[in-house]
Amino acid sequence: MDSNLQNREIAVKISGVKKMYRLGQIGGGTLRGDLESWWARIRGKEDPNTLIGTDQRLMGQTFMALNGIDLTIYKGEAVGIIGGNGAGKSTMLKLLSRVTAPTDGQIDIYGRIASMLEVGTGFHGELTGRENVYMNGAILGMTKAEIDAKMEDIIEFSEVRDFIDTPVKRYSSGMYVKLAFSVAAHLDSEILIMDEVLAVGDMAFQKKCLNRMRDAAQKEGRTVLYVSHNMNTIRQLCDRCIVLDKGRVIFEGDVETAIGIYSGTGISDLPVTYDLFDTQRPSAQHGNDLRIEKLEFLADRRAAFARSEGVSFRITFEARKRITNLKLYFVLKASNGTTVGLVQTLDSITDTEPGKRYTYVFFFDCSNLAEDTYCFSPDLFADDGNGKHWSVDQPVCDIRFKIVDEHPVGLNWNLTYYGNVRLNPVTVVRGGVLHEEG
């Protein structure tokens, strides 16, 4: 412990880590592809299955989930990792937990590591709670003697003492999770890795878990790496924060600044303009008769809008054929990837003439959206007026914008529990004090 004070000891060192994934389905042609690559290697020729260009994040068949990560985490730190979907958070935790290996780069971990990418890994429904504690504990690296010594504490913490000798298939999901978390919370490791596992159990239990983790970091001097979408738990638990975006570290440091950057209030990662002409289309048909060239938000620096003001953007497109009754729709998704709803034009935008370029400004009311970053990809479609419609252009893209609630009213909005839609408030119609009669 003393050495901690003198000199900050390194707990985890990540240098130049990259992780590449293959897109699309694996199977069928892979054996042939593998043999081709292998044969080419033997002859010292260029691999026919390698795509040209290595610096892009997306290169045809592969995807760089992590694209050169360098990080140093010191002993006793509680570090939060935040970032949008697909930023690489989970991939990073997977690499640290040694579930999969990096494509390039190195990681050095000093100390025993316990990863909780999920609670209750290895739990088997037929086994009793106690048997599962042994199983899960052993999978997480504890010996039988260690589990024996901690069994009492684990049962106590889990609040399921009465059912500990019942098969867990009879447990409610809450009990299951409580027991599972208790095992993980009693691990002796110096480094704890957690992927939103705290989002389990009832409120009281969550608080208990969070306190337990904070104690681990602050009192026991353990290192905690925590990934979450819930900024409140990040604030409560972490003393340093890392923001990931598109497989890179874009910020490292103070928690509030990091959260600010993540939610788009600091430096913006939400561009205003999107060039969509060369963007991929879902099929060769899309973008032939009409091609979307550009989408720009009508905002000055970044795509952020006040909840009360509404969202406006401009789409520029080129028509190559005559299309009647052109309309726009898009599916709005929240930052956690869940679908919020469909936004559509009810009236026709225009009937196009071949060879002409058009530009239209769209506006939609966003007063019913909670504060969050949303994403969509626009779809221009033709409507024959009889319920039949077909898509003419749909660039495959993530157009992102942020809704900021400048004058929050009512309860403090928690996306995890309340969702993304702010329904109309309930109002008091009539009523008053009841008078007992008789």
Partner: protein, 284 residues
């Protein structure tokens, strides 16, 4: 604490040694191996009326079927060994070997959910599978011994007692061979699922080219016999039966060949396993 953490330095990189086994780490997780092994038995006969009795009934019934079909109907000569005893013994050996292969053949695919969330030495699963097969074999051996004692007392069987010391070695030999084959199959099935389907047929076929339902002495000299003898399971099987039942052929040359094949299969198995275990989560 500083001391203990220094002992726990983990280095992760994209490069790795293909022959590295890290048995020390597997040993550290020995409690897990025991738990996996225990689980394989405690789950096997859950919700059955007869429960653990099936451990005995299963091989007994299949041995009786073999005795009836191959000994009775087909009339295969078992070199004077009582048919039931012959088939009980052969069956125990074959089930031991084949379960080593089949249990391991789906190591990665069957445990993907666990492997995808937590790191523990992946080798613990194959090792516990082989251990389960060992235990199963010993249980079956109890049955074999009951019959063996009966026939020895009646003077119908004369075991070669001096060879009994070799039995554990032969079992390890078969276990390692089964482990190697199973591990190779499981590593390849992470990418090519076809193999998992072929294993069922493959194992059946393999049984018939191994002297399980017949003694090797029933096969006349020729190409067929050479094929059967080069099968790495043949020599150890004959050897075990030679020791236990006093019937069979001891062929040192083929025994060496079988050992060489086993070493080769195991080495290749470790190489593929090591390569696959690091990144199989991305392809499974």
């Amino acid at each position: 604490m500083a001391n203990s953490t220094q002992n726990h330095h983990i280095h992760i990189s994209s490069r790795h040694n293909i022959l590295e086994l890290n048995l020390k780490e597997v040993w550290k997780y020995r409690d897990l191996i025991i738990l996996f092994t225990r689980r394989s038995f405690s789950l096997l006969y859950k919700q059955t009326i007869l429960g653990p009795a099936w451990v005995f009934l299963n091989p007994l019934i299949s041995s009786l079927v073999y005795a009836f079909v191959f000994g009775g109907i087909a009339g295969i000569d078992t070199d004077g060994v009582p048919t039931v005893l012959f088939y009980l013994c052969s069956n125990a050996i074959w089930i031991f070997f084949s379960s080593c292969v089949t249990r391991n053949a789906n190591t990665f695919t069957a445990n993907a959910a666990v492997f995808g969330k937590v790191y523990f030495p992946r080798l613990t699963i194959p090792v516990s599978n082989v251990l389960s097969s060992f235990i199963q074999f010993f249980v079956q051996m109890i049955l074999v011994f009951v019959f063996l004692i009966f026939y020895v007392i009646r003077g119908q069987v004369t075991p070669h007692w001096e060879f009994w010391v070799l039995i554990p070695l032969l079992l390890i030999h078969l276990g390692v061979l089964g482990l190697g084959v199973g591990v190779i199959i499981s590593s390849l099935t992470t990418k090519y699922r076809d193999l998992a389907i072929l294993v069922t047929f493959g194992i059946q076929l393999w049984m018939y080219v191994t002297p399980i339902v017949y003694p090797i002495s029933q096969i006349e000299e020729g190409v067929m016999r050479t094929i059967l003898m080069t099968n790495p399971v043949t020599a150890p099987t004959e050897m075990i039966r030679y020791a236990l039942l006093g019937q069979g052929e001891v062929l040192p040359g083929y025994m060496l060949l079988s050992a060489a094949v086993t070493v080769l299969v195991m080495t290749v198995g470790i190489m593929i396993f090591n390569k696959v275990e690091k990144t199989f989560m991305d392809t499974v």
